[in-house]
């Protein structure tokens, strides 16, 4: 099981939940697809049409930014904690 912590702006998709569990997924891309299966529409806000993490979204795996890992191909293991957050996009 993977624990996913969501930014408040995504809670409309999860009926208000800020933390949700996703059954085992081998990488972030698969995890986002599973998340979207449970909460339709949320996947398209996190990744683009081709499954790439959106430019202004950061996904952290156990506090490591996936941009410095393997992006959507970042490996996951049961027990991992994933944060999905908007990137700092200001000046």
């Amino acid at each position: 099981m993977i624990r996913v912590l969501l930014n408040a702006q995504l809670k409309d998709y999860t009926r208000g939940a800020r933390e949700v569990d996703v059954s085992s997924a081998d990488n972030l891309g698969t995890m986002v697809r599973k998340l979207d299966s449970s909460f339709p529409g949320i996947g398209g806000r996190i990744v683009d049409d081709q499954g790439k993490i959106r430019a202004h979204v950061n996904i952290f795996v156990n506090s490591e930014n996936s941009r410095y890992l393997q992006m959507e191909k970042t490996r996951l293991r049961d027990g991992d904690v994933v944060h999905i957050l908007p990137a700092v996009s200001g000046g």
Binding site: Q9, L10, P40, G41, G44, R45, I46, D48, D49, Q50, G51, K52, R54, H56, V57, P86, A87, S89
Partner: protein, 380 residues
């Protein structure tokens, strides 16, 4: 933003909008960089009540009221979470995102960056809605805007690899529905040009004859022209007015060819164009000095109108500031269906103006709004 409309007032508006007796209510939908505002007035268009911002924080590139269903639709873009379409059945109080938003298929290599114009389809197809996107393509919904599917003919157009973006991106920003000829649509793409389908989107052909480009060795190419906006009068859909990067044009043959109608305009450059609903000979523009400064000629913004199909143009600035560096974007000016025709424009400085009399007299409806991306109007 001050709200002049109480919830009880809005509730009355909602109930009226849903009832068959609500003829003559005018609904002005204003999309900004920070959300949507909905202005509602009676048929006199004198007193406007506003709600908003709706969809707060999102860029609203376009909104439309679908008179067939009573739903309001919005093209929304979040800087973080990407684009989608939202739909409201209560005049903007509550919104629901499309369950299957416009998305390119896996393997296409394309990803929707922004949503532009959203357009209800023809009367005989009451559930059809179209949306233009960046990178340029058309999407269609057959259920009122809940689920969307890409137009494959345009996505796979044989010239796509040579399409070049304009300053606003490679966007399909205009969709014209020919209400008299089933299957016919016009779309406009910057900086590609105008295309038409006569078979409901199964095939597309360019329609840029006589449209000049100033940025290619070939001045009159088949495609690669920078159309900024098209407009038609629904009663005469074969007559199309066209504001281009390099000129102002009119077609009298459903886009087969174009005639230069710049004539005495102060500039050939600008973005929006609107057509008078009651008189196909009347059209309206918002010229800017082109194309590198992009400010109003002489520092004095004015709408320019014609009542003879573009043979002559006249300045319409009564009630507008004498010095103003307003910019009105391509979806920032629109005409209503009332008589006399009303005109509305919103500026990138957050000013919203209206005229009840074909642009002869302007009044400020609001200022201090976020930068205005789009203005649309409908009678509910």
């Amino acid at each position: 933003m001050e709200t002049w409309c109480t919830s009880s007032q809005l509730s009355r508006v909602d109930k009226m909008a849903k009832s068959s007796g609500n003829k003559g209510k005018v609904c002005l939908m204003v999309g900004t960089r920070k959300g949507a505002f909905v202005f509602t007035s009676g048929p006199d268009r004198k007193n406007w009540k506003v709600t908003g911002p709706h969809l707060k924080g999102n860029e609203i590139y376009h909104m439309a009221y679908d008179g067939r269903s009573g739903a309001m639709l919005a093209s929304i873009v979040s800087g973080h979470w990407g684009p989608t379409v939202a739909r409201s059945e209560d005049m903007g109080k509550q919104w629901k995102e499309s369950s299957t938003p416009p998305r390119f298929p896996k393997g296409s290599g394309l990803s929707v960056a922004r949503l532009w114009q959203i357009k209800p389809g023809p009367e005989e197809e009451p559930d059809v809605v179209y949306a233009g996107v960046e990178p340029a393509c058309l999407f269609m919904s057959k259920d009122g805007g809940r689920k969307w599917k890409v137009n494959e003919a345009l996505m796979n157009h044989k010239t796509r690899k040579k399409w070049q973006a304009g300053g606003g991106g490679l966007c399909l920003h205009t969709i014209l529905v020919n209400g008299k000829r089933p299957g016919r649509l016009h779309v406009a793409i910057s900086a590609v040009g105008t295309l038409r389908t006569d078979d409901g989107g199964q095939s597309w052909r360019f329609q840029n004859k006589n449209v000049m480009t100033g940025f290619q060795p070939d001045k009159y190419p088949e495609y690669g022209t920078c159309v900024h906006k098209l407009a038609i009068n629904p009663s005469t859909p074969d007559v199309i007015y066209h504001q281009n990067h390099t000129g102002v044009y009119r077609s009298d043959d459903a886009g087969e060819s174009w005639v230069d109608i710049r004539n005495n305009l102060p500039s050939k450059f600008g973005f929006p164009v609107a057509v008078d609903a009651n008189d196909p000979k009347r059209a309206y523009l918002a010229p800017l000095e082109g194309d590198f400064s992009r400010i109003p000629p002489d520092g004095h913004f004015a709408v320019w109108g014609t009542d003879n199909r573009g043979k002559e143009w006249f300045r319409l600035d009564e009630g507008l500031p004498k010095q103003s560096y307003y910019t009105v974007l391509r979806d920032g000016m629109v005409s209503d269906m009332e008589d006399p025709c009303g005109l509305y424009f919103g500026t990138t400085t957050g000013h919203l103006y209206a005229s009840r009399d074909q642009g002869n007299q302007w009044e400020s409806i609001a200022d201090g709004l976020p930068p205005i991306l789009s203005v649309n109007v409908s009678s509910t």
